[in-house]
Symmetry: C2
């Protein structure tokens, strides 16, 4: 079949998304439903994310990176729950069935899926404005989930990895900020190919060391806010302790504070844990080669207090990303 | 809050999609993932369908009916597998957060969900061209699934309900065919508010009476073709035995044959079962008030043979719906 033959819906699925490899599913792609047989006594964690062109990624975005990111943002939700990835479904609306795009997209998708043993078990394809909807399934033991509503006053607040480089890249694309080409390229890789912190999340859940967790997708202040609200607590954040991405770390203090606090697209974990767990958490983070930094503490008093390295209060106007008011 | 206040993503979810009622989920909307605890020893059936404006429904479609249909097409996949509905996720891209639309859409969605005890456990909302992606979860006993690859030569072929009225309504909308207003309205209700045959599918699986099943969404010929291919068998269909919808039944024989064989949007079940099960299947269909009609048989010889009421071969040019070649 030549490169330019029309690709039917079934050929498209068969050529780019069906793979001849054994997986966890009892029945995968090719029937009305996929069948999963849960491991005895395990719970299933489920999350859906929908990525829309011009909203979550630029028109003409690199298809391989888009395949990676579409699954990464979902795996990040599993990580924040402490669930081990098992499988996912992919629903895809495409303006046209373009072989080069499909080959690159599926390559990026499966490279990340394979790295996490996460099997594509079904989905849907249709013509339409480019839209990628993945629903991901993970497993965990009952009672081990890292929920948002379990933070306790006195807990440390931890952040995995670094924050803000994805937002800095967006500023570069938007010409809000000028970056050298090598800086732009480094920051952009954080935006386009985020690393979901799956191993850290799973170990935190399995060891019981963390109380609450969330993944940072809309900006730290907004996402930590969900933990505070759900847990009925407040927090104090040491803004200067926030781990900025390597490119952002070389920018002004103002930009660093702004983008670490309210950047978005970070896909790092924010979790809380009792001070008695500090050494064990540091060891566990080292074990999975994921930096983890203490950035503040959970308080009894409601609200989020921002302080600088000296403990002096900061009054920064920040808002979290919202799809319908921005 | 007035009708015209901007609705944030979180308010939208809270006001229209979070419900204060106990469900099957261990943890529902409001964390990084939902948590489901599978019933011991049961398998999970999973299906995703994505509905796109101007492709699966008209721009400006009635939001209540769209809420119904978005879930109905997914429940139909569970029915075709014989899985009992448990829960679903909803990912929704909307051009804007419009209160009237959201109220009507969620009303239609939940009316059908409640009728099947199927709980909304999570999802995503974003701004973007209207796109509705539902992933549905059902449960069934291992070994009971109605798979596509289990048809056996000698099996009867059965169809639930009636076929073709949805396609007839489309012909009406497209001015390909003229219908009286009351006929148009009756046919259109089949197109906009299909009835997923959940109870029939589950009973067929639980009693073990059926061998193979599929739901008819792209037209009988194409969908039955999937059973034939997966099972390595052929079939003979009595075209004049196909149960036409009440409006289509009053049209010409040519239209009746064409739309029952290759209409699309039917969401009826096509299943195969040994002739020894005829009486039990009829009783079971009566028990769930769903008509079931025998329309042909599975053969050893590959291919699909169409015959008329006298057994004479028919040579009809038909094709199944395909999103990328049509």
């Amino acid at each position: 079949m030549s490169q330019h033959d029309a690709l039917s819906e079934f050929d498209l699925i068969k050529q780019y998304f069906v793979r001849q490899r054994p997986g966890r599913a009892t029945l995968g792609i090719g029937d009305d439903c996929a069948l999963l047989t849960p491991a005895p006594g395990r719970q299933i964690a489920i999350s859906s994310d929908m990525l829309v062109e011009d909203r979550h990624f630029f028109a003409g975005a690199d298809a391989r990176k888009l395949g990676h990111k579409s699954l990464a943002v979902n795996l990040s939700d599993l990580a924040a729950m402490g669930a081990r990835p098992v499988a996912f479904t992919l629903a895809l609306a495409l303006p046209q069935a373009e072989r080069g795009w499909l080959a690159a997209f599926s390559e990026g998708l499966f490279a990340l899926a394979d790295a996490h043993g996460c099997e594509l078990i079904g989905g849907d394809t249709t013509k339409g404005p480019l839209n990628i909807c993945i629903t991901v399934f993970g497993e965990l033991a009952p009672g081990q989930a890292l929920r948002r509503d379990r933070a306790v006053a006195g807990d440390d607040i931890w952040i995995s990895g670094t924050l803000g480089d994805a937002r800095l890249a967006l500023a570069g694309y938007r010409m809000e900020h000028t970056l050298a080409p090598h800086e732009m390229s480094e920051a952009a890789s954080r935006m386009h190919t985020p690393t979901p912190r799956v191993e850290l999340g799973c170990l935190l859940a399995e060891t019981g060391l963390a109380h609450a967790a969330i993944d940072i997708s809309d900006g730290l202040v907004g996402d930590l806010g969900h933990i505070l609200k759900a847990s009925g607590v407040g927090a104090t954040l040491d803004v200067d302790a926030l781990p900025a991405g390597p490119v952002l770390a070389r920018q002004s203090a103002q930009l660093r504070r702004s983008y670490t606090l309210a950047g978005g697209d970070d896909y790092e974990l924010c979790f809380t844990a009792p001070p008695s767990s500090r050494e064990q958490i540091a060891a566990l983070a080292a074990r999975c080669a994921t930096p983890a930094t203490r950035v503040g503490s959970i308080d009894t008093a409601a609200g989020l207090r921002l302080v600088d390295a000296t403990g002096a209060p900061l009054d920064l106007a920040l808002r979290s990303f919202d799809h319908f008011t921005q």
